[in-house]
Symmetry: C2
Subunit: 338 residues, 2 copies
DNA sequence: CTGTTAGCGCCTTCAT
DNA sequence: ATGAAGGCGCTAACAG
């Protein structure tokens, strides 16, 4: 592999001069520049990024870790998010170091510590903030640059992008209530997630606003998998009387719930209204097409990267906290003549 | 951030000694080792991987690039693959540098060149080999370590993992034919993919073996999206007479095809048998559950990494070419009483 | 068993 | 406008 020395020798100049033309960091005479450029082209020389990183203390790499625990990686939701992250990172000239944390094997914070302490990445994107999140505690303590998808439950201050889950669920509830439903169940998220609380609050607030009673039996915690949605729905169907509608905190779980319905000869929409959350691409193509709360997943990914790269470049953040408003997309799973 | 110097100073030894205990590369007296370890712990010292890489010409990083062109990233297939890759990479002590190639913006080979020439990664995983694949030409020329998912159309020699698509489709055809279908359509993959040819051959071979005529009208090229499957199926339904069964080269496209069926009041299984390919997690949970050709996607990912790390470690590959056999999973989309 | 030292490839003052 | 030299953090001869 050609190095800066090879270029210098071939061009008959010093390595410093080569560096100057590569980085445009000092004036170089046109003639010298031409010779250097020619040598670079001839050798197909590309500056070694490792050496550059060592020298400049920057790797131009952003870390992104998914813990296989919380949200199963097989959720298309993640693909959307990763797409947004990877695309925008490429735009900004950054690379993505991607890891999955095998929950059982390794203490999660240890993985983060490794990434931070070994200088492998310049900054981190943290998805799915949790209650008392040890990752945040660690990163804040280390004063390491990061941006999260999701707020904190504590009085901690850090940049984040989040979706207003409260309003999202509230919208779903209003849609259901105005359609005449009154016994509305809720399939939530793992309670350690910060957003789980916001959404549950949206559920409760809507009930209260419309003078509907809160029934703890109608609230089930899901695990964000299709299987989990299926199981939760079966639990709900065993209730006496069963609910006449259900708000589900992820589309994948909603798919599972609809399967549980069908298994009992019930039809989503006609017999029990179902509303999901996320609006993954497949939601529109499901049978029946899924009414859901749309969150701009891809955009979230790209916003996260924009914020982080702004920080890494030493620029001032215009907004440190971004809350995006979700919207209701009505399809057939919540409509009785659907 | 603590460096090896800090540790050396605190422990009262030279940096070489610290290096020896970190890497177990030379004998060190128990007492000295203890002091060094203590200093390391006290400073929470972690060797800088960038410096290590520069020194040892290794980054312990493997690159994985998806081109947004061929297979839409939103295909859950990729998530499975990435999971296998990332998990196994973690096992082997490697990190994954993940990129999406924005087809329009950048020449794909340029992205690979950047990765290779700048020394950012030690090796590459190449998915979806194509006819006359310029990526392979480049990497072979550079003599850069890589393993592909998919064979080559040319007489090129490189390590790969592939699934026997010929047999996969053949199995699907036998299943359909033995169920009494005779007018069987085929929704294929973008023809620049090497595996597209294998699969089409499996289709033709089965027809020929069972004395069924080949009808070009029954063959449609899909783009691996759900939308594409939908469009292809509509084309097929416009035929006179329409097919009585269809083999689809990805589950996602099969989902789209089934939607097209339903839109016409037709039921997959009852009216037209549908068989997919991939067996993504959602296949079992679709309505109707999708009969499909199972390929061990996650395992493929981990095999790819195992092979590549073997190469990177300078060890001999046991098998340079791995062809995995797919299997038929019969569910309801291909059964008339389903 | 431990320390000194020479780079790895690059950027960057400081001279010239 | 160009070059010489030091150093980023670490490893690996080579000495002692």
């Amino acid at each position: 592999m050609a190095t800066i020395k090879d270029v210098a020798k071939l061009a008959g100049v010093s390595i410093a001069t080569v560096s100057y033309v590569i980085n445009n960091t000092k004036p170089v005479s046109p003639e010298t520049r031409r010779r250097v450029l020619e040598a670079i082209a001839k050798l197909d020389y590309h500056p070694n990024v490792i050496a550059r990183s060592l020298q400049g203390r920057r790797t131009n790499t952003i870390g992104f870790v998914i813990s296989s625990q919380v949200r199963r990686l097989s959720d298309p939701f993640y693909l959307e998010l990763i797409s947004g992250i990877a695309d925008e990172a490429a735009n900004q000239g950054f690379h993505i170091l991607f890891s999955i944390c095998p929950a059982e094997t390794l203490e999660e914070v240890e993985l983060y510590r490794e990434l931070v302490k070994t200088g492998r990445v310049d900054g981190l994107i943290i998805p799915d903030t949790r209650l008392n999140d040890p990752r945040l505690t660690f990163l804040l303590e280390e004063d390491f640059p990061f941006v999260t998808f999701g707020r904190s439950d504590k009085e901690k201050d850090f940049p984040y992008v989040d979706v207003d889950g409260f309003t999202g669920i509230y919208l779903a509830m209003e849609h259901l209530i105005s359609s005449g439903h009154s016994r509305i169940a809720f399939i939530g998220m793992p309670s350690e997630l910060v957003c789980a609380g916001h959404r549950l609050n949206g559920y409760k607030a809507a009930l209260s606003e419309y003078n509907l009673p809160f029934d703890q039996n109608l609230v089930v915690e899901g695990d964000l998998t299709q299987q989990g949605g299926y199981r939760a729905m079966r639990e709900l169907l065993a209730l006496e009387p069963p609910p006449d509608a259900v708000v589900v905190c992820s589309d994948l779980m909603a798919f599972g719930a609809i399967n549980a319905l069908r298994e009992q000869g019930l039809k989503a929409g006609k017999d029990i209204a179902v509303v999901g959350f996320d609006d993954i691409p497949m939601a529109a193509h499901f049978n029946p097409p899924l009414t859901t709360i749309h969150q701009p997943i891809y955009e979230i990914g790209s916003r996260l990267i924009k914020m982080l790269t702004t920080i890494l470049n030493g620029d001032e953040l215009e907004e440190k906290h971004i809350i995006l408003e979700p919207s209701l997309v009505v399809r057939q799973s919540s409509i009785s003549n659907g």
